[in-house]
Amino acid sequence: MKNPVMPASGTFGAGREYSELMDINRLGALVAKTVTLKPRDGNIPPRLCEVSSGMLNSIGLQNEGIDHFLKHDFPFMKEFDVPVIINIAGNSLEEYAQLCREIDRVEGVSGIELNISCPNIKAGGIAFGASSKLAEQVTAAARYNTQLPLIVKLTPNVYNISKIARAVTSAGADAISLINTMVGMSIDTNTFKPNLGNITGGLSGPAIKPIAVRMVWEVAQSVKIPIIGIGGISNALDAVEFFLAGATAVAVGTANFINPLTMTDIISGLEAYLVDKGFTDIGQIIGKVKT
């Protein structure tokens, strides 16, 4: 990776739209929106709602399925001079396994991210990420079916994130991304209806940053594998907080919607920050919070 900054799955599509507004080749990696085995329609609208310093979404993993993805989106992503990570979700261990088998065969994939933390689907998703046993099983199933670097994306909606992190590590994860969204809800006080068609949704954006930093720090104390820090990152100093807490890379989600140049601004901002503080390499600040 050229640098440790990448998009968070589901907030950058396959990069097609944003490639018109920014230079994808400057990114550390490309992370695709979650793909599933079969196409998914996603959830009933409304799917979005803005809240204080954040937003709720209940997209529900709308996607056209792995075959379509590999045929139409992946070739586009591969054209950039940037590693491509494919993010997958399934309803069952077998679906995760099968997705891994299919992707393992494909030329030019740099890694697989297991989304076991989506709060917006009825089966699978978050349920896998909220139990250390299931998280371990799904990671093991994936591990068994691919040689590719395996990143497991965890949900923050748990009491003991370190326990889950240890479980997926022992099952063979090469890295952990955290956090996915917090489950939230918002109600229209005029109509009495939830602001999301799916009733609840995932909270993202600056509102969740303190929760994310805390979880990255906790997990960094308990496992040795790299952590991709995610959650409310909007600028270089936000990213620095995650590096200090122990992340080796960061991913940007919601902030892309607000400013498509967020990631490239962060990349420049990190360089400036390192120079300013007399460091030569981001590695020099990783995990260096003085507790």
């Binding site: 507004l21 079969k38 009933i44 799917r47 979005l48 229209d188 919607f257 400013n259």
Partner: protein, 282 residues
């Protein structure tokens, strides 16, 4: 589509709480088509962060474009406080815009309140293309007749309805449509306004076999087709208002239930409707 930092060179409060901004951008003014919108980073205010979408209201060709907006919440409130020569961060032009086939001869443009925003740009385009058209404008009352004069100047015959009867037809624009459509017999209807109104217009259009295109408003995050948040339910499945729309052919739209009439703001007319295939797969 591009992201620009654009100068504001004109600002007018056209009626209480409704503002018109003139924004410099040769590129957007050159490329924009009626029905498209821009995604605006409203000056930072109290606890909101997402961009806000606004239709392109008019263009000064090759130089600038305008937006017409009403203050309804924090974002529009912040936007109403910009000053001439302030700079706005804007992404646009976005969306697909209104479609018109070459051989169309007559159109009916129906605007409810702020629905006038995209339709004035369309009206100017239709004049250019020498399409005969009839503006039909619905307002609360006489003193709030947004852009009436402008439409009247451009259209063949302009119809107006006010809810209190202080000007033109007393009642809604939908009533007015139902009374007059058999006389006007347009080849196509273009409409923008509250979703309840659009649904009723589409029913009338259906009944008379008239093609009908409407501009739908949904909550948006990215505005460019990435987040899949602005979904509308159509016969072809979920479509994104920001990329596949905001203009849709009403034959494609699956409208939502009753309560859309009450003007539920955050939907596209579809949230009470089961999606074409439901989520039961996962």
């Amino acid at each position: 589509m591009l992201q620009i930092k654009a100068d504001i060179i004109g600002k007018e409060e056209v009626m209480p709480g409704v503002f018109n901004l003139i924004i410099v951008s040769p590129e957007i003014s050159r490329n924009a088509r009626p029905g498209q919108f821009v995604h605006v980073l409203c000056p930072s205010g109290d606890g909101f962060m997402l961009r806000r979408p606004f239709s392109i209201h008019r263009v000064v060709p090759g130089r600038a474009f305008e937006i017409l907006f009403q203050v309804v919440g924090k974002g529009t409130e912040a936007l109403s406080r910009v000053k001439i020569h302030d700079t706005l961060d804007i992404i646009g032009p976005l969306g697909t815009g209104f479609k018109y086939s070459e051989d169309i001869k007559s159109a009916l443009l129906i605007a409810g309140g702020l629905g006038a925003a995209p339709l004035l740009f369309l009206a100017e385009e239709l004049v250019e293309r020498q399409v005969l058209f009839y503006p039909m404008l619905g307002y609360k009352t006489k003193t709030q007749m947004l852009r009436y004069i402008d439409f009247k100047r451009l259209g063949k015959k302009t119809y107006a309805a006010t809810e209190d009867g202080s000007f033109g037809h007393e009642g809604t624009v939908v009533d007015l449509l139902n009374r007059t459509v058999h006389n006007i017999r347009p080849e196509i209807i273009y409409a923008c306004g509250p979703v309840g109104m659009l649904k009723k217009i589409s029913e009338t259009a259906d009944e008379f076999g008239i093609e009908c295109q409407v501009s739908l408003e949904t909550k948006m995050a990215c505005g460019i087709g990435v987040c899949l948040g602005c979904a509308c339910v159509t016969r072809q499945g979920y479509k994104m208002a920001c990329k596949d729309g905001p203009v849709f052919d009403t034959r494609d739209i699956l409208w939502g239930a009753e309560d859309y009439e009450k003007g539920r703001a955050s939907g596209c007319g579809c949230d009470n409707e089961a999606p074409p295939e439901t989520d039961s797969a996962g």
